[in-house]
């Protein structure tokens, strides 16, 4: 599935557009962007378009583009992968491809918008993720968005020739709801 439009304060999640494919290709060709991603090679434009079509009809995925509300610039992609409808969970996926927009808090805002959608619209119970230990930016964004460590996979991923640990984290619906009620009822 493509995700519907969700407005945040500074970013907006939007259904992916075909014309964004060259941008994705450029991001995925940049080894600094992909350092901590599973995909470390750029697709052909045709591959990228075929992938979008596949995602559009896949009931186990939801994908959005992340754009800045101010100006509408595309800065990344975010999604829910491996949705298991019986267990009602999914894996987090995110990339801020535009390096000039790193460290601005866009990822954590996009994650918070996604969490509300996953719990309130899709009825999921939890979202889980694994982040390479050295990927401090992604980890901080997840923690800010309410994800908590649930384990560490040892020497699980290859980064620049070194095997690194992977930080496993998740956000549960009950925890999220409790935190939200606490915030809303605060004076």
């Amino acid at each position: 599935m493509f995700g519907p439009v969700i407005e945040g304060a500074r970013v907006r999640l939007e259904p992916p557009r075909l014309e964004w494919s060259p941008t994705y290709q450029r991001w995925l060709a940049d080894m600094e962007v992909t350092r901590y991603l599973i995909q470390r090679n750029p697709p052909s434009l045709r591959q990228e378009e075929a992938l979008l079509e596949k995602v559009a009809e896949d009931p186990h995925r939801v994908v959005w583009g992340i754009v800045l509300k101010d100006g509408g610039k595309l800065i990344g992609v975010i999604g829910l992968d491996k949705i298991d409808w019986r267990l009602r969970d999914a894996e987090s996926g995110i990339m801020i491809g535009d390096k000039t927009e790193w460290r601005h808090g866009h990822a954590s805002e996009a994650m918070r918008l996604r969490t509300e959608y996953a719990f309130m619209e899709l009825g999921l119970r939890k979202i889980w993720t694994g982040v390479d230990m050295p990927n401090v930016g992604s980890r901080r964004a997840l923690e800010k968005a309410g994800y908590r460590q649930c384990g560490v996979m040892r020497r699980h991923f290859l980064v620049n020739g070194r095997w690194v640990d992977v930080w496993m984290a998740e956000i549960h619906r009950e925890d999220w709801q409790r935190a939200r009620e606490a915030t809303c009822s605060a004076p």
């Binding site: 019986r86 899709l122 009950e174």
Partner: protein
């Protein structure tokens, strides 16, 4: 999906086998069997086979054969259909195709097994079913398992020159849990 084996006292639910196709064709050629069903015609052996494969591949259907616990003889079919994962509900449908097996309470037990599967394994919130109003045996099988009427659609089914109402029943997760204390250790 095909459903896994679920053993009751007198019937067992099993994944359907392709050699059952001739029995299905026979059932659906028998107007007494199909009188209160939505499908009232047999299809070709090839189509019947394709339908089974379609069900096996579907992520929104769970299909079982109903067999006798004593000798494994095929007596009917049962499925959870149109599963809406996002809304956590499904429709239950069944047929006891072997007419000489009617009146033994087999459907009642099959409904019990499938309903528990829906709540325990699929974690659904609701199961619902449609019954053509005069089909009292079928409605009783549901009511004995805690399904309650939630709607009656008037003059909804045209059968043998007459109009019949359609009875719609449903059971909610809470209701099922209350009927089966201890079945759910921890609920979300």
């Amino acid at each position: 999906m095909f459903g896994p084996v679920m053993a009751g006292e007198r019937v067992r639910l099993e994944p359907p086998r392709s050699e059952y196709a001739p029995a299905y064709l026979r059932w659906f050629a028998d107007r007494e069997v199909t009188r209160y069903l939505k499908v009232r015609n047999p299809t070709s052996p090839k189509k019947q086979d394709e339908w089974l494969e379609q069900m096996a591949a579907s992520e929104v259907d769970v299909l079982w054969a109903i067999v006798r616990a004593t000798d494994g003889g095929l007596i009917g079919n049962l499925g959870l259909h149109k599963i809406l994962w996002r809304h956590q509900r499904a429709e239950l449908g069944y047929v006891i195709g072997e007419r000489d097996q009617w009146g033994n309470g087999f459907a009642t037990e099959a409904v019990a097994l499938a309903t528990s599967y829906a709540f325990l394994e699929l974690a659904l919130q609701k199961v619902w079913a449609e019954v053509t109003a005069p089909n009292e045996a079928s409605r009783r099988a549901l009511e004995r398992n805690g399904y309650r009427q939630c709607a009656v659609f008037r003059r909804d089914r045209y059968v043998e020159g007459r109009w019949h109402d359609l009875w719609v029943g449903e059971i909610l997760r809470d209701e099922w849990t209350a009927l089966h204390p201890g079945a759910l250790q921890q609920d979300t």
